[in-house]
């Protein structure tokens, strides 16, 4: 079915909705609908009030005071009594007590001190251990390790033990001439002149 409104300028899809005729309101309302609607809605709002039961104005606000009065007038019916002015003074008393409480001092052990003590103990144990270790014979150690094959490497004990088996030639062979000369030229050794005179004096 061809519609005259569509045929005029709406062959192109893009312009269909631009037609002012389409934008016209196709719906209708009963006569005087909007004029009478306000009254109708106001009446309905009043009739559908959610509060079916009403209370006098300021009822809840004044009710608390009324109840307080009633309770005070009937206070003699209370089986429990309290000292006069108890509630008035309780607040002040509690406040004073709280203020008088001194904050407890907490013992603080510094971490550095603990670590220091632990380190000292460890050091002491280590030192004791090292000192109590049996001392190795340093000389024999040297002689064991060194393979010099000379008299210098022998201990006094070895020498005193073996000296009787050594003859003069062995000693001369073991000690170089240079060492002997050096020994005799040293300051600790007395000069031959003084020695000889002493010998002479002793002889005569």
């Amino acid at each position: 079915m061809n519609n005259p409104h569509l045929n005029t300028n709406m062959k192109d899809k893009k312009f269909i909705l631009d037609n002012p005729h389409l934008k016209e309101n196709p719906f209708n309302v009963p006569e005087d609908y909007f004029d009478t609607n306000a009254i109708k809605i106001i009446a309905k709002i009043h009739s559908t009030s959610t509060e079916t039961f009403n209370v006098p104005e300021d009822y809840f606000e004044t009710n608390v005071l009324k109840l307080q009065e009633k309770l005070l007038s009937n206070s003699s019916k209370n089986v429990f009594i309290y000292p006069e002015g108890y509630f008035e003074n309780t607040e002040k008393k509690l406040f004073k007590e709280i203020q008088s409480l001194k904050p407890q001092k907490r013992r603080i052990i510094p971490l550095i001190r603990t670590i220091g003590i632990a380190a000292s103990v460890t050091l002491f144990i280590l030192t004791t251990y090292i000192l109590l270790q049996p001392k190795p014979n340093s000389h024999s150690e040297i002689t064991k390790n060194k393979d010099c094959q000379t008299l210098a490497c022998l201990t006094k004990k070895d020498i005193s033990k073996d000296i009787e088996y050594l003859d003069e030639a062995d000693i001369e062979e073991a000690v170089s001439e240079q060492d002997i000369e050096k020994h005799f030229n040293s300051k600790n050794y007395p000069s031959p002149s003084t020695t000889n005179s002493n010998i002479v004096n002793e002889t005569f």
Binding site: H5, E24, P26, F27, N28, V29, I41
Partner: protein
């Protein structure tokens, strides 16, 4: 149209001034009826047409409009003045209209998705529908749209609301609304062209 009462020159009040006046009147219990009348007189037509385009039939629109004002009145004391009164009322009206459609689905014992189809068929029997054939086709095309696209199209095409206003009413982003409107227009144009062939 509302005029400023205390002014020596009568000039119409702006929507913001009307909103302010309504809220001022509500603050005084003895002026509640005056406030209610001003509220209804100011907004009933715009809200009615928004509802009517969703529910189609006048009787349903009338019910939804009454419910809208009842709910608005009950919540007006707690109205958050961050948005305009109209935006807030429009939101209530849209929800009430959709509520009527849900009730209709229950009454007719049909799924909610088929309510629009039912309304489309009953359009001609409505005594308060005066549109010609092509206007009826347009309404049928709108009723074929998904619910959100239908609302967005009506708001934009008939009420000419801005996307920002629509976003506030429908709690959606402007981008999503533009997309919805574009899809709606495409579908309607296709439907109308096919019907005309």
């Amino acid at each position: 149209m509302q005029y400023k009462a205390n002014s020596p020159f009568l000039y119409p009040m702006t929507p913001a001034e009307i909103d302010k006046k309504i809220l001022e009147l509500i603050a005084h219990p003895d002026q509640h009826n005056q406030a209610l009348k001003l509220l209804i007189d100011t907004y009933q037509k715009r809200l009615y047409w928004q509802i009517r385009r969703i529910v189609i039939h006048h009787d349903d629109a009338d019910d939804a409009l009454q419910n809208t004002f009842i709910k608005a009145w009950q919540g007006l004391k707690n109205f958050n003045q961050n948005s305009s009164l109209f935006t807030w009322l429009y939101k209530i009206a849209t929800n009430e209209a959709l509520q009527i459609l849900r009730k209709k689905a229950q009454e007719k014992n049909i799924p909610y998705d088929e309510v629009a189809h039912y309304l489309s068929n009953s359009l001609t029997s409505d005594p308060y529908f005066k549109g010609d054939e092509i206007q009826k086709k347009l309404q049928q095309a709108i009723l074929r749209l998904p619910e959100k696209q239908r609302i967005v199209f009506n708001m934009r095409y008939y009420d000419e609301l801005s996307y920002e206003e629509m976003a506030e009413i429908l709690d959606t982003s402007v981008g999503a609304l533009k997309a919805s409107y574009h899809h709606a227009v495409t579908k309607i144009e296709e439907y109308l062209l096919n019907q005309n062939e």
